[in-house]
C-alpha cells in the first residue's frame, strides 16, 4: 500500500472525523452506484429484444415508487447534511487558548510568524497535542492554505483575515499546499509543517526566536507611525482608545455596531473612513500602502494585546460578563510561548480566557 495509498495519513485530531464522514459517503455512493449498475444490467439482459417487431409494455409509472426514490435519498442526504455541518462547525471553531500563528501569503511563498517573534518561510513548526490557530492574510491575490494530513483548508483572501485551526496528533513532516490558483508558481507555493514533541518544540523555539514578539513589533510600529498621538491610553485623544476594546461591540457614528475583531482593526488601518466610532471625526489618514501585510498583522497583534474580551475567534462573551482586562501577562493562556524577554510595554499579550 506504500505505492498506492488510498488515504492520506491522519495527523490531526480532526482528520478522523473527516475520514469517518468520507467513509460513510463512499459506502452510500458505492451502494447506489452498484444498485443502479446491477439493475441496468439485469433489466437489459432479461428484457433484451427477441423479435424485431417487439415493443415494451406501456407502463407509465408509479407514484409509490416515485415517492420512495425521492424521499429515501432525501432522508439520506439530510443525514449527510447534518453530519457534514457538525464536522464543519468543529473544523471552523478554534478552541479558546489555541496557540496563534500569523500567516501571510504572497506570490509565491508563505510567511509565518509565531507570537514570540520567530519567523519561518514555507515551514511551520508546531508542538503535538496543542491547538494551533492560524490567522491568515494575503499581500496580493487569493491563496489557500491546505494541510491535507490535517484535513483543513482555508482561503487566504487579501483585505481580510481568515482563520484555520488544528491539533496535530502525530510528530512528522506534512505537506502545506496552496490550493487557490495564484499565478505562475502556484504549484511551487508549497511547504512543510513539522509536528514536534513539546520538548523538541521548546528547544526549536528558543533557537529560532528573535526575542521580540509580534506584539512588541506592533507596539514599536504604533509609536513610529504616530498612531499613539491620537489613540491614547485613556480616552483623551482625537481617536478612540484601543485599550480593552478587543472582542466587544463598538457603536459607530451611523448608529450601527461592529465587532472589534482582527478584521475591523485591519480595515480601520487601511480604510479608516469606512466605520467611524461614534463620537469621533473621520480624520484618520489611510495607511494603505504604507504598512505591509506583515506589519498590519503586528499592529493587530499589538491592539489585541491591549486586552479586551475573548481572544480572537473564540466564542464572544457579552461585555457584561467580562472580567476587566488584566494588565499583566497570564501564564499559559493564549500567547503560550513563555520565557521570551519583553520590553517595557504594558500588557504585551492578550489575556487568557
Amino acid at each position: 500500500m506504500d505505492q498506492l495509498p488510498l488515504f492520506p495519513v491522519e495527523a490531526s485530531a480532526q482528520a478522523g472525523q473527516v475520514d469517518a464522514l468520507y467513509f460513510f459517503l463512499v459506502a452510500v455512493s458505492a451502494f447506489f452506484a452498484v444498485l443502479i449498475a446491477v439493475l441496468l444490467i439485469v433489466f437489459a439482459v432479461k428484457f433484451r429484444r427477441r423479435r424485431e417487431d417487439e415493443v415494451g409494455e406501456a407502463i407509465h409509472g408509479s407514484i409509490a415508487l416515485e415517492m420512495a426514490w425521492t424521499l429515501i435519498p432525501l432522508g439520506i442526504a439530510m443525514f449527510m447534511f447534518v453530519w457534514g455541518a457538525q464536522v464543519f462547525f468543529h473544523l471552523t471553531r478554534p478552541p479558546r487558548g489555541a496557540m496563534e500563528v500569523y500567516v501571510v501569503g504572497k506570490q509565491w511563498m508563505w510567511k509565518l510568524q509565531h507570537m514570540d517573534g520567530a519567523r519561518e518561510i514555507n515551514e511551520l513548526h508546531v508542538p503535538v497535542g496543542r491547538p494551533v490557530k492560524l490567522i491568515m492574510g494575503s499581500e496580493d491575490v487569493i491563496h489557500s492554505f491546505f494541510l491535507p494530513a490535517f484535513r483543513v483548508k482555508a482561503d487566504v483572501v487579501p483585505g481580510r483575515y481568515n482563520t484555520l485551526w488544528f491539533t496535530a496528533t502525530k510528530p512528522g513532516r506534512y505537506h502545506i499546499f496552496c490550493t487557490q490558483y495564484c499565478g505562475t508558481k502556484h504549484s511551487a507555493m508549497i511547504g512543510w509543517v513539522t509536528v514536534m514533541e513539546p520538548a523538541d518544540y521548546q528547544a526549536w523555539l528558543s533557537g529560532g526566536s528573535s526575542g521580540i514578539s509580534i506584539a512588541d513589533n506592533g507596539a514599536k510600529l504604533f509609536q513610529d507611525l504616530g498612531c499613539a498621538s491620537c489613540h491614547q491610553e485613556v480616552q483623551q485623544g482625537r481617536g478612540p482608545t484601543l485599550r480593552g476594546g478587543y472582542g466587544h461591540d463598538v457603536k459607530l457614528n451611523d448608529g450601527q455596531t461592529v465587532a472589534f475583531n482582527d478584521d475591523y482593526i485591519r480595515e480601520s488601518i487601511v480604510n479608516p473612513q469606512a466605520k467611524i466610532v461614534a463620537g469621533f471625526q473621520p480624520i484618520m489618514p489611510t495607511f494603505q500602502g504604507l504598512v505591509s501585510e506583515d506589519q498590519l498583522l503586528q499592529l493587530v497583534a499589538y491592539v489585541k494585546s491591549l486586552g479586551g474580551a475573548a481572544p480572537g475567534g473564540g466564542i464572544p462573551i457579552p461585555p457584561s460578563l467580562m472580567p476587566k482586562a488584566p494588565n499583566g501577562r497570564e501564564p499559559g493562556g493564549v500567547s503560550g510561548e513563555t520565557g521570551t524577554g519583553r520590553g517595557a510595554q504594558p500588557a504585551p499579550k492578550s489575556p487568557g480566557n
Binding site: 488510498l6 492520506p8 473527516v18 464522514l21 468520507y22 459517503l25 455512493s29 452506484a33 443502479i36 441496468l40 433489466f43 428484457f47 433484451r48 429484444r49 427477441r50 415494451g56 409494455e57 406501456a58 407502463i59 407509465h60 409509472g61 408509479s62 415508487l65 416515485e66 426514490w69 435519498p73 432525501l74 442526504a77 449527510m80 447534511f81 453530519w83 457534514g84 455541518a85 457538525q86 464536522v87 464543519f88 471552523t92 496580493d140 491575490v141 487569493i142 489557500s144 491546505f146 491535507p148 484535513r151 483543513v152 483548508k153 482561503d155 483572501v157 483585505g159 481580510r160 481568515n162 490550493t179 487557490q180 490558483y181 495564484c182 499565478g183 505562475t184 502556484h186 504549484s187 511551487a188
Partner: protein, 540 residues
C-alpha cells in the same frame, strides 16, 4: 410508410449548395450543422490542450512545459471546453435541429436571431482564439480576482470579451427555444405530450436566460477594473473579491446544469427508443428538469465554503445543494425503471445511455461529497473536484452528446454510421474515461491540489494512470469524428425511421425537407407511445 415520407427529392441539404446558402441560411437545421462543425473544432482544440496537460502531468517536475505555459494550457482548456463546447454543444446542435421538428413547427420562432447567435458565437470564439494565439491567458477559466484584474500579465480582457460576447449567443438561443416551445407547438401538442428532450431544453433555456447576463456583466466588470482601475473587486482598490465569486458562481454553477440538462433530455429520448417503451414517470422526469433549473440557481455558495463565507450562509447553500441532487437521482431511477419490461436492443446510442447512467451516477454521488461542508473543506480545490465535474461534464454531458449524435445521425444526414466501429468507440470512451478520471478521486483525497504544474512524487502513480486513460479516451473521441465524416458519402441510406422510434422527427423524411412538415401536423396523443396504454399508476 407514411405518404409524406420520401427519401428522395428536395431536402434541407440539397436545397442550395453555395457557401452563401449556408452562411446566410435561416434554416434551423443548417444553422445546427454550422454549430456542429464549429463546436467540433473547439472540442478538438480544447482536447488538444487537455492532451498537453496530461502529458505534462506524466512526471512530477515541470519538464514538458514551463509552469507558465501549463497555466495557460489549463486555462484555455477550461475556457474553450466550458464556454465554446459544453454550453453550446447539445442545445445549439441537436436542440437547434430537433426542437422545431419535435414541436411540429417549420422553424424556430426567430430564424434570423438564430443565425445571429451563431455569428456571435464565432465572434466570441475569434476573440478567445486571438487571445490564445497572441500569448494566451493564465487566470483559470474562473477568472478569479484580484489575480485576473491586478496580477496576471496575460490577455485577460481579450479572453473575457470572448466569453462576454459568446454569452449573448447563449442568451439568444435560450430565448428562441422558450418562445418556440411556448408559441409554436403544433395543434394538439400539449405540454404533457412534449418529448422530454424539449422539456429539458426548456429548463436549460431558463438558465441561459436568467444566468448568462450575470456572468456577462461580471466578466465585463473584470475587464473594466483591469483596464480602467475602477475599484470593484480588487481589495487594494477598495473592492471585494468575494463579491466576484458570488456573481461568478451565480451563473457558473447553473451553467453546469446548462451542460447536463440537455444531455439528460437526449438520454430520455434514446432510452425510450431502444427499450421501445415510453418513459417511466413522465411527469417526474419532466418536472425534475425544472426543479434542477430552479434549485440550481440557489446553490452557488457551495463553491465558497472555505473562502470565509459566513457559516450560516454555508449551511443554507449546503442544504440546497443536497436538495438539487434529488431530482437528478429521480431521473436516474426513472430511466432504469424504463428499461424494465422493455424490448432492449444494444445499438451504440444505447451503449452511450448505459455509460451515461453509470458515470453520471458516480458524478452525482460525488457531488454530495462536495455539498457536505465538513468534507468539502478537505477536498475543495483538489483533484477530487476535477474528477467529480469531469464525471458530470465528460461522463455525463459528452456521453449524452455522442449518444445523441449517433441516434439522430440518420435523421440529420440521411445515412447510417458504421455500427461496429461505433460500438468499439463507445467502449473506448467508457474505459478510457474511467481510467482517466477515477484515479483523480483518490489522488484528490490524498491532497493533490488542482492547477499544479508540478506535484510531489507520491502522486505520480495516479497521474500516470490518468494519462494512460486519457490516450484511450482520445482514441475513443477520434474514431467517431473519422467514421461520421466517412459515412456522409459511403454509408447506406437510413430511411425515415431506422430505429423504429416514436416522435415527430421520425415521421418525416431523412434528411428532412427545408420546411420540415408539408402541412402542420396535428398531434393526438403523447409522442412516445410504443404500446397501447396499460393503466398502471399514473397516466397521461
Amino acid at each position: 410508410m407514411d405518404t409524406i415520407t420520401t427519401t428522395t427529392g428536395l431536402n434541407y441539404l440539397n436545397n442550395g449548395y453555395g457557401l452563401k446558402s449556408w452562411l446566410l441560411t435561416k434554416d434551423h437545421k443548417r444553422i445546427a450543422l454550422l454549430y456542429l462543425w464549429s463546436v467540433t473544432a473547439f472540442f478538438a482544440l480544447g482536447g488538444f490542450f487537455a492532451l498537453l496537460i496530461r502529458l505534462e502531468l506524466l512526471t512530477p517536475a515541470a519538464d514538458l512545459v514551463q509552469p507558465e505555459t501549463y497555466n495557460k494550457l489549463f486555462t484555455m482548456h477550461g475556457v474553450i471546453m466550458v464556454f465554446f463546447f459544453l454550453i453550446p454543444s447539445i442545445p445549439a446542435t441537436l436542440g437547434n435541429f430537433l426542437i422545431p421538428i419535435m414541436v411540429g413547427a417549420k422553424d424556430l420562432a426567430f430564424p434570423r436571431i438564430n443565425l445571429l447567435s451563431w455569428y456571435i458565437y464565432i465572434l466570441g470564439g475569434l476573440f478567445t482564439i486571438v487571445a490564445a494565439a497572441t500569448g494566451g491567458i493564465d487566470t483559470g477559466w474562473t477568472f478569479y480576482v484580484p489575480y485576473s484584474t491586478a496580477a496576471s500579465n496575460s490577455h485577460v480582457i481579450l479572453a473575457g470579451l470572448g466569453v462576454f460576447i459568446t454569452g449573448f449567443s447563449s442568451i439568444l438561443t435560450g430565448l428562441n427555444f422558450v418562445v418556440t416551445v411556448h408559441r409554436m407547438r403544433a395543434p394538439g401538442l400539449t405540454w404533457f405530450r412534449l418529448p422530454l428532450f424539449v422539456w429539458s431544453h426548456y429548463a436549460t433555456s431558463l438558465i441561459m436566460i436568467l444566468g448568462t447576463p450575470v456572468i456577462a456583466i461580471t466578466v465585463l466588470l473584470v475587464a473594466v477594473e483591469r483596464g480602467l482601475h475602477l475599484g470593484i473587486f480588487d481589495p487594494a482598490l477598495g473592492g471585494d473579491p468575494i463579491l466576484f465569486q458570488h456573481l461568478f458562481w451565480f451563473y457558473s454553477h447553473p451553467a453546469v446544469y446548462i451542460m447536463i440538462l440537455p444531455a439528460m433530455g437526449v438520454i430520455s429520448e434514446i432510452v425510450q427508443a431502444f427499450a421501445r417503451k415510453n418513459v417511466f414517470g413522465y411527469a417526474f422526469v419532466a418536472f425534475s428538469s425544472l426543479a434542477i433549473a430552479i434549485i440550481g440557481f440557489l446553490v452557488w455558495g457551495h463553491h465558497l465554503f472555505v473562502s470565509g463565507e459566513s457559516t450560516y450562509a454555508g449551511l443554507i447553500f449546503s442544504i440546497l445543494s443536497f436538495l438539487v441532487a434529488i431530482p437528478s437521482a429521480v431521473k436516474v431511477f426513472n430511466w432504469t425503471a424504463t428499461i424494465y419490461k422493455g424490448s432492449v436492443s444494444f445499438e451504440s446510442p444505447m451503449l452511450y445511455v448505459f455509460g451515461f447512467i453509470g458515470l453520471f451516477t458516480i458524478g452525482g454521488l460525488t457531488g454530495l461529497f462536495l455539498a457536505t461542508m465538513g468534507l468539502d473543506v478537505h477536498v475543495h480545490d483538489t483533484y477530487f473536484v476535477i474528477a467529480h465535474f469531469h464525471y458530470v461534464m465528460v461522463g455525463g454531458a459528452i456521453m449524452g452528446y455522442l449518444g445523441g449524435i449517433h441516434y439522430w445521425w440518420p435523421k440529420i444526414t440521411g445515412r447510417m454510421y458504421p455500427e461496429g466501429l461505433a460500438k468499439f468507440a463507445a467502449l473506448c470512451v467508457f474505459v478510457g474515461f474511467n481510467l482517466t478520471f477515477f484515479p483523480q478521486f483518490i489522488v484528490g483525497y490524498l491532497g493533490m491540489p488542482r492547477r499544479y504544474a508540478m506535484y510531489p512524487e507520491e502522486f505520480q502513480v495516479y497521474n500516470v494512470l490518468s494519462t494512460a486513460g486519457a490516450s484511450v479516451l482520445g482514441v475513443g473521441y477520434l474514431i467517431p469524428i473519422i467514421y461520421l465524416i466517412w459515412s456522409l458519402k459511403n454509408s447506406p441510406l437510413a430511411g425515415p425511421n431506422p430505429w423504429g422510434a416514436k416522435g415527430l422527427e421520425w415521421e418525416i423524411p431523412s434528411p428532412p425537407p427545408t420546411e420540415n412538415f408539408a402541412v402542420t401536423p396535428v398531434v393526438t396523443q403523447g409522442t412516445h407511445q410504443y404500446a397501447p396504454s396499460r393503466e398502471v399508476g399514473i397516466a397521461h
